[in-house]
């Protein structure tokens, strides 16, 4: 098996599993209980909070544990919009957000908010000047992702952050695909809220975090017990949270090393594909990208057919985001970048991980050559 879909999810790091194990066995206490077993769960919880805060340049009390990236996005966007409803009703986001952000913004529109979706250039980046020009008296929230899940393109967030700060507008980023892949510091980015999800960096599924800068107005969408500063109620998932912290620690620690390795691997992969296969374009290649993602469009063949051939050869990749598997529509991200629908259809996202090897990439390149030749052989648009 050659797994090249690390943007969909990653295997759990064995050390993360080991860190979680005691909290799945003996240390099972409820972190809100007052006796020893509870306090020791609490202590693990707070150590994890501290560790995660450290990795992001935040303060421990600014970290809220959630059930994943989608939930973090929802709490951030709904929470701020509802808290500031009386101040204004305008939200700025981009056309290339993940559905967790996009659909939430659309839900806000149904509630009466006005949402501006920023365009991106052909490289897949928004223009910070566009942010400035769309800010009005009614603007209460800017939410732009840090790294795109399909192309890996990194957005110029420091500049957006500066604008947000100047204009005193709350700024959220969906950093689910960036955390663990590039250094992320909430102060460098000037963000007020930042979403992350454990299973994207060799951590557990079903657990994430939301960074909430002190004094950020937020109206918690869900209510219950007084957990997580009232922002996210419910018995704390201690093993998951410990795993999240350990995974982030490991990812941040090995970041320079892994980045270097994957940059080399991808460089060779892309260069070879471009040299050996005709009619290929690599989307977002002109922009800064996270080191592991390569989004390739193969002319005149269809992505799902490529994927199935890859699967038959034991290679796992995806045609875009995992959650759009069932939808036949072309990727909204590629459409926003101006990729023609026909080209977008032949798109495969390869997302590499720390354990991929040179040999695996060689095998994938061979496979791709054979598969594209084969599918083009039967393609009705081959003459193009």
């Amino acid at each position: 098996m050659i797994y090249l879909d690390h943007n969909a999810t990653t295997p759990l790091h064995p050390a993360v599993f080991r860190a979680m194990e005691p909290y799945m066995r003996e240390q099972f206490g409820n972190a809100s209980s007052s006796y020893r077993l509870g306090r020791s769960a609490k202590s693990a919880l707070e150590a994890s909070r501290k560790s995660i805060a450290g990795c992001l340049g935040a303060q421990p009390d600014e970290i809220v544990f959630t059930g994943g990236g989608t939930e973090s996005d929802n709490i951030a966007i709904r929470g701020v919009a509802h808290a500031l409803r009386s101040k204004g009703n305008h939200v700025i986001t981009s056309h290339i957000e993940h559905h967790a952000v996009l659909n939430t913004c659309q839900d806000l529109e149904r509630e009466g908010f006005r949402v501006t979706y920023l365009p991106v250039d052909s490289g897949g980046q928004i223009n910070p000047d566009d942010v400035r020009s769309h800010i009005g008296a009614e603007t209460i929230l800017i939410t732009v992702m840090l790294a795109n899940n399909e192309t890996g393109v990194i957005q110029p967030l420091s500049e957006v952050g500066k604008i947000a700060r100047e204009e005193q507008i709350i700024f959220h980023t969906d950093a689910v695909q960036a955390v663990g892949k590039i250094p992320v510091d909430v102060n460098e980015l000037s963000v007020d809220l930042l979403s992350l999800s454990g299973h994207k960096f060799y951590g557990p599924k079903g657990v994430g975090a939301l960074y909430v800068r002190r004094n950020t107005p937020i109206n918690p969408p869900f209510t219950g017990g007084h957990h997580e500063r009232n922002i996210r109620p419910g018995t704390e998932n201690v093993p998951g949270i410990v795993g999240l912290a350990e995974a982030l620690l490991l990812a941040t620690g090995s970041l320079p090393e892994v980045a270097q390795k994957l940059t080399g691997l991808r460089q060779r992969f892309e260069a070879t594909v471009l040299r050996k296969i005709n009619g290929v374009q690599i989307n977002g290649r002109s922009a800064p990208r996270v080191h592991n993602t390569s989004n390739m469009s193969f002319q005149s063949i269809e992505g799902e057919s490529i994927l199935l051939h890859l699967d038959l050869k034991g290679i796992y990749a995806s045609s875009g985001s995992a959650c759009s598997t069932d939808s036949p529509e072309p990727s909204h991200v590629l459409v926003a970048m101006g990729v023609p629908a026909g080209t977008a259809q032949g798109t495969i996202r390869f997302s590499l991980g720390k354990d991929n090897t040179d040999d695996q990439i060689d095998y994938v390149m061979e496979a791709l050559m054979e598969i594209t030749a084969r599918l083009r052989e039967i393609s009705s648009v081959r003459d193009k």
Binding site: I301, E302, L308, Q345, E377
Partner: protein, 174 residues
């Protein structure tokens, strides 16, 4: 106590009745029967579909075809081309090319296989369901793909009939 599997519909009731019985063993068994690592490469395509996808029958073009069609599926933007040659009112040769998903390729391949050798009238009676059942079923969300092959076949036959009508206007009545 009838033993054996418990069907989805009756399971609730079953549990209520057997609370003190051995239903949980039956249950776990059923769960374990659920494929942990499915045999096929992609769970939702069966082996025959995979076969038609990897080795599509009748791929190609017919330069001197008697009927031709280009059809597309507007919902996904996929498209296919299909050519037929007719001898003695029978489809004597049929070829296709497809820019489509595995479902589209496999169903198109099956359409050509089903149509080859059939009379025009027989071919016209082929339906979507014939294709799907000949393939042993395809996933629900792929049913629209199977339409493309049938539509291409029908369009190519229409093209043939139109051309023929023009060349030999009387034959229609024979």
């Amino acid at each position: 106590m009838q033993g054996g599997r418990v069907s989805g519909k009756n399971r609730g009731r079953f549990i209520m009745e057997k609370r003190t019985g051995n239903w949980q063993d039956l249950y776990r068994k059923e769960r374990e029967e659920e494929p942990k690592l499915p045999e096929g490469p992609i769970l939702f395509y069966n082996d025959l579909v995979i076969d038609h996808f990897t080795n599509p029958r009748n791929v190609g073009e017919i330069s001197d075809s008697d009927g031709y069609a280009l059809v597309g599926d507007p919902s996904c933007g996929d498209q296919m081309k299909l050519w037929i040659k007719v001898k003695k009112k029978k489809i004597s040769e049929i070829k296709f090319r497809s820019f489509g998903c595995p479902g589209a390729i496999a169903t198109s391949s099956m359409v050509t296989q089903l149509a080859l050798g059939k009379t025009i009238d027989e071919a016209k009676r082929l339906t979507d369901d014939d294709v799907i059942s000949a393939l042993g079923g395809i996933p629900e969300n792929k049913k629209h793909c199977s339409l493309m092959g049938i539509n291409a076949l029908l369009a190519a036959i229409a093209d043939y009939e139109e051309k023929r009508g023009r060349a030999n206007p009387r034959e229609e009545e024979l």
